[in-house]
């Protein structure tokens, strides 16, 4: 080969290298771009749900209308009717309106506004017979108008709010009576049919209990199975078949586990439907192979010299494994477990089959109370027609992603912190 040819060949090789680098960078950029678009989309849609609009209403706590006096017991307050004073206060916003429009006025605040007035009175009993400024949740429609999600310029008959409501609303804005603040009730309320009242507390608690049950079941079973298979089981046909099937189990579509849960846990053992207990059991089945596989890999990665060292000292097999091998495999096992659990946290399909799709408007207190979970909540709200649920859907996804990121970061932290460098 002549010198010129050699230089040509060399140039060609460098060119190929540059081309390869370019394709690599391009694909990384594309992946990041898609992720970025997804996150921007979710955040721009969902961030609104973390804020809400309230109207500051001057309410006269008339003791005659309430039927209360300064010495009334909590029970009497509980039973008192606050609707009337609320209605009076709303009517003040637009005096002398015809009867027909009064209903529209009342519709401007949330359906639970009277309850909010009651709650306010409960903590401020001194306001009896006085006028107090009470912040009340606005109806979802006006909330959406304020956030700019509802266009104002379409014909009235195609809107969910009337010109009359809009006029009063703008009037109140100009009087600084409309406040926009952080929506704590989104985090503390249970699910509701009213978008302005709906919150994720019930599905958060449901997810917590479900993952807890899943962890309690799958972690010890998974670890013991992995240790036995890796360290103690004789290597023969049976263990080989088990190994193949554990791997197969990890590849089974999750909805199949849901069918199994429905058929066995609900219809055969009659465990309570729609509960985190059953949900956790189903997810534990799904998570088991996802714990066994990384745990076995972590055990395999422990150098045999450690086992020999302990055995040569006269340690029994169990002592060798428990004292020296398992502690070294723990970081890998734990990070595998956390990743398995975070997959379980995002799982929807199997839970639909065991009835965790029910509408739950109370926060579950135990794992045997019916409840929903975060991904199912996303699914439920995404099907709702009200505009308010659109942003709540995205906001729930934000919360879900937040927990997933926390769990995965913890897994990475564990892996890096306890990673052993073998000599």
């Amino acid at each position: 080969m002549s010198k010129v040819e050699k230089i040509k060949l060399l140039k060609k090789r460098y060119k190929a290298e540059r081309r390869f680098k370019f394709y690599g960078i391009l694909s990384v950029c594309l992946a990041i771009l898609f992720l970025f678009i997804l996150i921007i989309n979710i955040f721009s849609k969902g961030s609104g749900a973390f804020f809400k609009t309230e109207i500051l209403l001057n309410i006269k706590f008339d003791e005659k209308k309430l039927g209360l006096n300064i010495n009334s017991s909590d029970k009497e307050i509980q039973e008192a009717n606050f609707e009337e004073i609320l209605k009076d206060a709303l009517l003040v916003l637009a005096p002398k309106v015809p009867e027909l429009k009064q209903a529209e006025l009342i519709d401007m605040v949330s359906i639970d506004a009277a309850l909010e007035v009651k709650k306010f009175y409960f903590y401020n009993k001194g306001v009896l017979n006085k006028i107090a400024e009470v912040p009340l949740t606005l109806s979802d429609d006006l909330d959406q108008v304020y956030k700019g999600n509802f266009p104002r310029d379409i014909p009235e008959e195609r809107r969910r709010f009337s010109d009359f409501q809009l006029k009063i609303f703008d009037d109140q804005i100009s009087k600084n009576k409309i406040v926009y603040k952080f929506n704590w009730s989104f985090l503390t309320n249970a699910d509701s049919r009213e978008p302005e009242l709906a919150g994720v507390a019930s599905s958060l608690a449901g997810s917590f209990f479900t993952i807890l049950v899943c962890l309690i079941l799958s972690f010890p079973i998974g670890i013991l199975a992995a240790i036995y298979l890796e360290e103690f089981a004789p290597k023969n046909k049976i263990t080989e078949i088990i190994e193949v099937n554990v791997n197969n189990l990890a590849a089974v579509p999750s909805i199949v586990f849901g069918l199994l849960g429905l058929g066995v846990f609900l219809n055969y053992f009659y465990l309570p439907r729609s509960t985190p207990l059953v949900g956790g059991m189903v997810l534990a089945l799904m998570t088991l192979p996802r714990i066994i596989i990384p745990c076995r890999a972590a055990l395999k990665a422990v150098p045999p010299s450690i086992r020999e060292g302990a055995l040569a000292l006269g340690a029994s097999k169990v002592q060798t494994v428990m004292h020296n091998v398992v502690p070294l495999a723990m970081p890998g096992t734990l990070s595998g477990t956390i990743i398995g659990l975070s997959q379980a946290l995002g799982e929807t399909a199997p839970l639909l089959l065991i009835g965790m799709i029910a509408f739950i408007n109370v926060v579950p207190a135990t794992p045997i109370d019916p409840s929903a979970v975060l991904p199912v909540q996303v699914y439920l709200w995404s099907e709702s027609a009200e505009r308010g649920f659109v942003e709540k859907t995205s906001a729930t996804i934000i919360i879900l992603i937040f927990f997933l990121i926390i769990m995965n970061s913890f897994a990475i932290y564990l892996r890096n912190k306890f990673e052993r460098k073998w000599s």
Binding site: P234, E308, G309, L313, G314
Partner: protein, 254 residues
């Protein structure tokens, strides 16, 4: 000669599946002497010493046939408690393999699992004495709580020796203990072996002819799974009976 035989093997054969690795080995190990085993790679030296503390049991396909007697008592039976055998016959491996624990815990592990120390004070004494015997005490006495894996290679190997002697075994098997070490660390280990033979019977597998000549009193030459020659070290290196031994120690093959 007033020599006591510590371990003797008769017709010892080892099979890895269908492959035979050792053929009818008859060998006597003398108490408080260093016996060196030399031979080319794959000749079965390591397989042989792993029989002596039944470490070959760990390997699934491995089958050991023949007789191994320790103090005249047969140990190659199904009923023999391997944990007790390994407590009496310690082992140091080719690559230093300290546990990923502190230096202290590395040495204290053996006494702990065998219940040799009733209280912390006795355990401290055992750890200190073991490290002193392994000539490591002065280097690590101020950092017993640091991980054993943080020591240098030579120190790690001495830590492994301290670990092996912490349970006061009768025999120490060393499987090429210096192959991963530099010459200075090797010299230290060799010095140590010389010291240790006063209290223990030592078997050392080595690739270094000079090491065998320096540290051992008896030497066995293995080739292709057979014990070719076994004699006093001096005799083996100066005037071997077998032509093959002669060729090997003069570097003509292997």
């Amino acid at each position: 000669m007033n020599e006591k035989i510590k371990i003797s093997t008769r017709n010892l054969s080892v099979f890895y599946g269908p492959k035979q690795a050792l053929f009818d080995i008859n060998l006597d190990l003398v108490e408080n002497k260093v016996t060196a085993l030399i031979g080319p790679s794959g000749c079965g030296k390591s397989t042989f010493i792993r029989c002596l503390n039944r470490m070959n049991d760990v390997i699934d396909l491995c089958k050991v046939e023949g007789s191994i007697k320790v103090d005249g008592k047969e140990i190659n039976t199904k009923n023999t408690d391997v944990n007790l055998i390994r407590e009496r016959i310690g082992m140091v491996f080719q690559k230093p393999n300290p546990f990923p624990k502190s230096i202290y815990d590395n040495v204290a592990y053996g006494p702990r699992i065998h219940g040799l120390a009733e209280n912390q004070e006795i355990l401290n004494t055992i750890v200190e004495n073991s490290l002193k015997k392994a000539a490591l005490w002065n280097e690590v006495k101020d950092r017993l709580n640091q991980p054993g894996t943080g020591l240098s290679g030579g120190q790690q190997q001495r830590l492994c020796i301290a670990r092996a002697i912490s349970i006061n075994p009768e025999v120490i098997l060393m499987d090429e203990p210096c192959s991963a070490l530099d010459p200075i660390a090797t010299a230290k280990i060799e010095e140590l072996i010389d010291e240790l033979k006063k209290s223990y019977t030592i078997v050392i597998v080595t690739h270094s002819m000079s090491q065998a000549a320096r540290v051992s009193q008896n030497t066995g030459f293995f080739h292709l799974g057979k014990l070719i020659e076994f004699n006093l070290t001096e005799k083996i290196f100066k005037n071997p009976d077998n032509k093959m031994t002669q060729d090997y120690i003069t570097g003509r093959f292997g």
